[in-house]
């Protein structure tokens, strides 16, 4: 019975493997049928002004998003991105196709040059960021509502609340308390928020359709902001001893007096730490998205190479995509964990007290 089911599954994969070929043939074939993988992958990874869901034939189904720009000539503008679709111009703004600002909203200044206005549009990344933030707030506040009107003597929670309690306490006890040290109470809310913020955004990025699928934590502005928060937490709350160790570290005097080697290195270290945080999270998540998309694209690339090759590659691609998606779930957790742990470690290192020596 079980073997029969596997056989059916195999047949199904085989048949679905044939389908792209069919679709490819019925379309226009030739030049237009060629798949531009780079465009697919980068189109997904980079930001966009509308949320493209699917294309069926010539119909594009996408969610229009608000564009908010401030032009130094004409002031504030806010309109829907559907006004700019297919290269249209609206209120003097259009999406540049080429040049330095390719894919961004631009306008022409008095000299006729393309200039970029101050652009705080709610792009796809910003929009999915908001959706994910809302989900995060709903989950955590919903869970914490359970604790209202309950005493420490009442029973421990079960089900989802129990799971979240275990999850939160794992991060709190194993990462925050053990890495930050005794001053952990001040930093725990930020670190917990950072962890769950990154984690939920990572996970939502793995869901392929709206409202998931946004490449939020794979956007460098997002990771830069998070790293900046850690940078501020480290340096604003750093103790006097922390600054002393940077400008007057415990090394032989010749390393710091005529030419301040160590202070320069230490000072450099202040900025490399958040930079490393930024790039690590950004690169990992972006790469994950790129790999999954590339694997899926294999199906469409091999469509022109014959049925047998295409089918076998489809099977391989699906298997690899499943594997990669599973791996990405792991990565989603690991990267959130690593970011939180490193932030906690950096904060802990800035909380130097005399008795530690």
């Amino acid at each position: 019975m079980k073997t029969l089911r596997y056989l059916w599954l195999f047949l199904l994969v085989f048949v679905t493997g044939l389908m792209p070929v069919y679709a490819d043939n019925t379309e226009t074939g030739g030049e237009k049928g060629k798949v531009d993988v780079q465009e697919i992958v980068f189109g997904h990874i980079s930001d966009s002004y509308e949320w493209h869901i699917l294309t069926y034939g010539d119909t594009h189904v996408s969610v229009p998003l608000p564009i908010i720009v401030y032009s130094s000539n004409t002031g504030w503008h806010a309109f829907l991105s559907s006004n700019l679709a297919h290269g249209q111009e609206y209120e003097g703004f259009y999406i540049a196709e080429t040049g330095d600002y390719a894919g961004k909203v631009v306008e022409k200044d008095a000299q006729g040059n393309e200039v970029r206005p101050l652009d705080i549009s709610i792009t796809k990344t910003a929009f999915s960021l908001m959706i994910n933030s809302l989900i995060l707030v709903l989950i955590i506040v919903g869970v914490s509502r359970w604790y209202k009107n309950r005493k420490p003597s009442s029973e421990a929670p079960k089900g989802f609340v129990g799971f979240m309690e275990m999850f939160v306490m794992m991060i709190h006890d194993d990462v925050i308390v053990s890495c930050v040290g005794k001053e952990y109470k001040r930093f725990a809310p930020y670190l917990l928020t950072a962890f769950f913020f990154i984690f939920i955004n990572n996970l939502m990025g793995l869901i392929p359709i709206f409202p998931g699928g946004g490449n939020v934590t794979g956007n460098i502005a997002i990771t830069l902001f998070l790293a900046l928060m850690t940078f501020l937490a480290v340096n604003i709350f750093g103790t006097k001893e922390y600054w002393k160790e940077i400008f007057w570290p415990d090394v032989p005097t010749w390393l710091k007096v005529p030419v301040p080697f160590m202070p320069v290195i230490e000072l450099f270290g202040i900025f490399t730490k958040p930079f490393a945080l930024t790039v690590r999270l950004f690169a990992n998540i972006m790469a994950g998205h790129a790999i999954i998309l590339s694997l899926v694209s294999i199906i469409f690339i091999t469509a022109s190479l014959g049925v047998v090759l295409n089918t076998s590659m489809t099977i391989i691609s699906v298997l690899f995509s499943v594997f990669m998606s599973c791996l990405e779930v792991l990565v989603a957790f690991i990267q959130a964990y690593v970011f939180t742990m490193l932030s906690a470690v950096f904060i802990g290192l800035a909380q130097v007290h005399h008795e530690h020596k």
């Binding site: 980068f42 709610i122 809310p189």
Partner: protein, 166 residues
């Protein structure tokens, strides 16, 4: 590459979203959970401690009750012994008293009897004396019924008196 250029718009919305999320979660989210877990931990620790103390107290009480029982048994035995002693003592005393009382009564009875006897003897003597006087009277009256005899008597008596005067 545009991927590596942080976009100001996304950065701005990230700032807004993250700050809002952070304040909501820091105020209403995590502290409630973390505090509750810590309080629960404390509560469990305290409960365990008090349970251990109660257990100790219980075993202590058991020991104490056993010792009290042993003491009570001892006391009981002691009281019983004392009671027995008192009983025998009382009995002995009573016996002694009864004996002495009996002896006293006997003595008294004997004395009474003696007295009665003496009285009776005295009475008898008196009676005998009276009777003998009466008999002597009667004999005398009979002997002195004639003048001669009376004179003879007087004579004799006088003789006797004179004899005794000599």
């Amino acid at each position: 590459m545009s991927l590596l250029n942080p976009d100001i718009g996304v950065f701005f919305w990230m700032l807004v979203s993250f700050i809002i999320v952070f304040f909501i979660l820091a105020k209403f989210g995590f502290p409630a959970l973390v505090n509750m877990v810590n309080e629960r931990k404390q509560y469990i620790d305290e409960s365990l401690k008090s349970a251990r103390e109660a257990n100790e107290k219980l075993s202590h009480i058991k020991e104490e009750s056993e010792s009290i029982l042993v003491e009570a048994r001892k006391e009981q035995a002691k009281i019983l012994k004392e009671a027995m002693e008192t009983r025998t003592q009382i009995i002995n005393e009573a016996k002694e008293k009864a004996q002495s009382e009996g002896g006293r009564l006997l003595e008294e009875a004997r004395k009474q009897i003696q007295k009665e006897k003496d009285d009776a003897i005295r009475d008898i003597r008196k009676q005998v004396a009276e009777l003998s006087v009466e008999v002597a009277e009667k004999v005398l009256r009979k002997q002195l019924s004639s003048e001669v005899e009376q004179n003879g008597m007087i004579e004799r008596l006088l003789d006797e008196v004179s004899d005794s005067k000599k």
